[in-house]
Amino acid sequence: MSSVGSPLRQLVNRYRRGFILIVFLASSSVMILFNGTPGVARPQEIGLSILGFFQGVVSGSVHVAGQMGSFVLDLTDLQAKYQKSAALVKKYEGDERALVQLREENHRLREQLSFHQSLPYFNVPVEIIGRDPSKVYSTLIVNKGYLDGIRKNLPVVATQGGVTGLVGKIAEVGLTSSVVQPILDANLFIAARVENTRHEGLVTGKGNNQEFLSMSYVKKTSLGQIHRGDLVVTAGIDSLYPADLLIGRIQDITTKEYQTSLDIELEPILDFSRLEYLNILRSEP
């Protein structure tokens, strides 16, 4: 037994480095090939559930530390601010009319800004706790998951400067965290249309670090009708995204003689580098 085992063991020992590498590369290749097949995504969800928890802890700690720092700084300024506020309160105390006007204005602003009231969808507010470490895949990790009712493929939006735009969709769901696939991703395709002319097309990203989108399959006959600066919104054709959510603004239109459609470059309506809070839309509460 040992005389048979020894040469084999020697061979394995001699080439064990290469042997293990081949096993790893083969396993990785099989996983890539069967990516998206039911059951294969399960380890990814488990990994996300575990890492998502720690990401939440790290992100939360950083947030708390930042807040504590700002509290210390704020304390130095507190007295002056308090005195200013007290003076302002005195001024407003006798001014009933101004207060009513302010209330009305406040109400109007709330109506404009309150996304929850303006769309026939229920939204789950989430905070970004992580971003993609690699440069090719542009991923956002948010602090709510399966336990909060988040499911795969739910649309994600955000409001920036009073404008609500599409961020992407939920790609993976962990227990307490989820992965958002943003519209910048080259593998996410969205049925869209030019807002004013209603010409349809397909919007996709160009990969990470390139905050531009491309819109294709827009008919060449629309060339004179669409212009730089026109808004592009979701078409609402597929069941994933509600219609008329803002995606971006036309930045450049190019046409080639041999093509029947236009190549349109879009600038996203949202600045993805400044996103902090998102809203996940769902049709049920």
Partner: protein
């Protein structure tokens, strides 16, 4: 050797958490330096191919879990990197600047080329411009500039936590 693997994985997982949270805000010209890759290749050149490919495979799977990349993509990338960069173990003298910079250069080029190769081989649907763009060049420069600093921090941590009898993690 198990100790080496556990140590390296522990450091890299902690760094992965930092890279996806705190360090993700460190953006220069729209580009983030890849600290995870830099530290991984430094560890690989210290620990050798065998343990580094195991660490790389495990780390890659974790990275796959928190990104939209297909499961196995980063596992492949890091396992192969562990093997290749581990080949240099014990054969390279590390000065404070030139070797770390060279390592940063090779690691960034490796990540871009291998990532592109996997994209072509498995038809992952990423455009060529996602790999070869101005951002890649900026990231290369950033990684080159930060490599000596990362190597210096690694040396400091090693000195502080090294067990004189058993070595760092082994």
């Amino acid at each position: 050797m198990i100790r080496t693997i556990v140590w390296a994985l522990g450091i890299l997982v902690a760094l992965l958490l930092l890279q996806t949270t705190l360090l993700s805000y460190l953006v220069v010209f729209g580009v983030k330096p890849n600290f995870l890759l830099l530290v991984f290749v430094i560890l690989a050149t210290q620990n050798g191919s065998f343990s580094s490919q195991i660490v790389g495979f495990g780390l890659g799977l974790l990275v796959d879990a928190v990104t939209t990349s297909p499961l196995g993509y980063h596992a492949f990338l890091f396992a192969l990197a562990g093997y290749l960069f581990g080949l240099g173990s014990g054969k390279v003298y590390f000065d404070p600047i030139v070797m770390p910079v060279l390592l940063g250069l090779l690691a960034t080029l490796y990540e871009t080329m291998t990532g592109f190769g996997l994209n072509v081989l498995f038809q992952l649907g990423q455009p060529i411009s996602a790999y070869f763009n101005l951002g890649t060049l900026f990231q290369l420069i950033l990684n080159l500039l930060l490599s000596p600093l990362v190597f210096w921090i690694y040396g400091w941590v090693k000195e502080k936590f090294q067990d004189p009898r058993r070595g760092f993690g082994g």
